[in-house]
């Protein structure tokens, strides 16, 4: 499977991974073919490499729970790059791209910041911020583009305060982060964006060493960098992950969440009638939208998965958007149902790499969506849905713009 050469006459060429979405909250129609071939099937990456797509929910869990057999080591040559930007990401070494026990040492340094209680304590501040943003939207009047006016600043301001990154720098780091997480970003472009973010964060950390603040980065400087538990480079790479993952994904989820609710008026009405449904509605949005379309691993040893024989070195892509629509795990999986109450989707991943910021993301989504729906009851799209620019294959999924009126 690691063979990157392919005969031009090969008519048994597997389908491509990733593929672009038509409707931004639906998996690409081309992924249906994966499922037709079973829970684990062959796909071809942009560079011609053939890897295994895991589209069954049970098989996806099996891969994600078994970090010893299915490695996340991004530096390793067998780790598949599903888009050019992942070649650049190999040089950014933090816990998302490491296996235990190396991974676990870094992750443990962050656990106390992301507990359910700590996130609960952030809620009043997030609510104030969301209210101020809606005030500004109302004051300006329609039409508003909810991406720059709402969906992006909410998680961006929250992660800045949490990390101790000055929000005054947001235009710079949002633009660079966008280059890092966009599917169509070239190798050179993503390498440049990573380099710019790294040098910005390196400089910020040096400044904080002289003038400490009270963010997570300051804590990591005092408790880990100062005692040699983290090198400066390691701290910069961790900061980069937290900053990028802390705002781009949630921003995409907020905007796409608004769109998904607007396109399901019966479900939107059910949520408006019963605000107690908010947590399950957010969970269902996470399952249904699957903004992180997939996640890669490689096999460290020969193994079997979903009836396929996987060889050591084979690349594996867990197709989150398809696993979340597996009928065996989610009856009527194609229906968006705010009262479903299913929490076993894998939108935050599963296993030791499951998103460390997931409860912060949930809080931001709950507060942002409920506040917007309550304060702008006439909220609707200002353009036809077909005119919304959909994000490219191979990156965080969503829409680039969301013009609304009310």
């Amino acid at each position: 499977m690691t063979d990157t050469t392919r005969a031009a006459s090969d008519d048994r060429r597997p389908p491509a991974y990733p593929q672009a979405r038509g409707c931004p909250f639906q998996p690409p129609s081309g992924y249906d073919r994966y499922r037709e071939e079973g829970p684990v099937s062959a796909v071809e990456l942009y560079d011609g490499r053939r890897v295994w797509a895991v589209s069954g929910h049970a098989e996806a869990r099996q891969v994600l729970l078994d970090a010893a057999t299915f490695s996340s080591d991004r530096v390793h040559r067998d780790y598949p790059a599903t888009a050019p930007r992942f070649e650049s990401a190999r040089k950014v070494k933090n816990f998302i791209g490491m296996d235990p026990p190396e991974h676990t040492v870094q992750r443990r340094m962050l656990l106390s910041t992301f507990t359910v209680k700590k996130v609960q304590a952030l809620r009043p501040g997030i609510q104030r911020l969301v209210d101020e943003l809606v005030d500004a939207i109302e004051a300006k009047g329609p039409v508003a583009d909810l991406v720059p006016d709402f969906a992006l600043p909410v998680p961006s301001i929250v992660i800045c305060e949490l990390l101790g990154v000055p929000y005054a720098d947001h235009t710079f780091f949002e633009q660079q982060s966008r280059r890092v997480v966009t599917g169509s970003t070239t190798l050179e472009d993503s390498a440049d964006a990573f380099a710019q973010l790294s040098s910005y964060l390196d400089e910020l950390i040096r400044r904080k060493e002289r003038e400490p603040g009270d963010g997570l980065l300051d804590t990591l400087i005092a408790e880990q960098l100062a005692v040699g538990a983290l090198s400066r480079r390691e701290l910069v790479d961790i900061a980069l992950l937290l900053l990028v993952a802390g705002h781009e994904t949630t921003a995409s989820a907020i905007a796409l969440g608004v769109l998904t609710l607007l396109k399901h008026p019966d479900q939107l009405a059910a949520l408006r009638d019963n605000p107690d449904l908010l947590p399950t509605a957010v969970e269902e949005l996470l399952r249904y939208m699957a903004i992180a379309d997939g996640v890669a691993r490689f096999a460290t040893t020969d193994t079997e998965l979903g009836g396929q024989r996987i060889k050591a070195g084979d690349g594996v892509v867990v197709v989150i958007s398809t696993a979340n629509r597996d009928e065996a795990a989610f009856p009527a999986a194609g229906s968006f149902d705010v009262a479903r109450g299913a929490r076993h989707h894998i939108s935050f991943g599963h296993g030791v790499h499951q998103c460390i910021g997931q409860n912060l993301a949930r809080a931001e989504l709950e507060i942002a969506l409920s506040t917007l729906l309550r304060r702008l009851p006439g909220l609707r799209l200002a353009v036809p849905e077909t005119e919304l620019p959909v994000k490219e294959a191979g990156g965080v999924q969503g829409v680039w713009k969301l013009p609304v009126t009310w």
Partner: protein, 64 residues
């Protein structure tokens, strides 16, 4: 049955706290705390098995 937790495996996702807040909490370090370990009745056992399946680091279990 009793709930057991392995803080050495726990990676602080907090799924147990969200799923069964009456049973689980997190320490200030961010790892799992079992509030009431004793489990009685099939319905309660079934509910906790769902919670256990949600744990991404397989840090909680039911033992006889």
């Amino acid at each position: 049955m009793r709930i057991t937790a392995d803080t050495g495996r726990c990676l602080g996702a907090g799924q147990c706290v969200l799923s069964a807040p009456d049973r689980f909490d997190q320490s200030t370090e961010g790892t799992v705390l079992v509030l009431t370990p004793s489990v009685e009745g099939e319905a309660e056992e079934a509910r906790l098995r769902e919670t256990i399946a949600l744990c991404p680091s397989q840090a909680i279990a039911l033992e006889a």
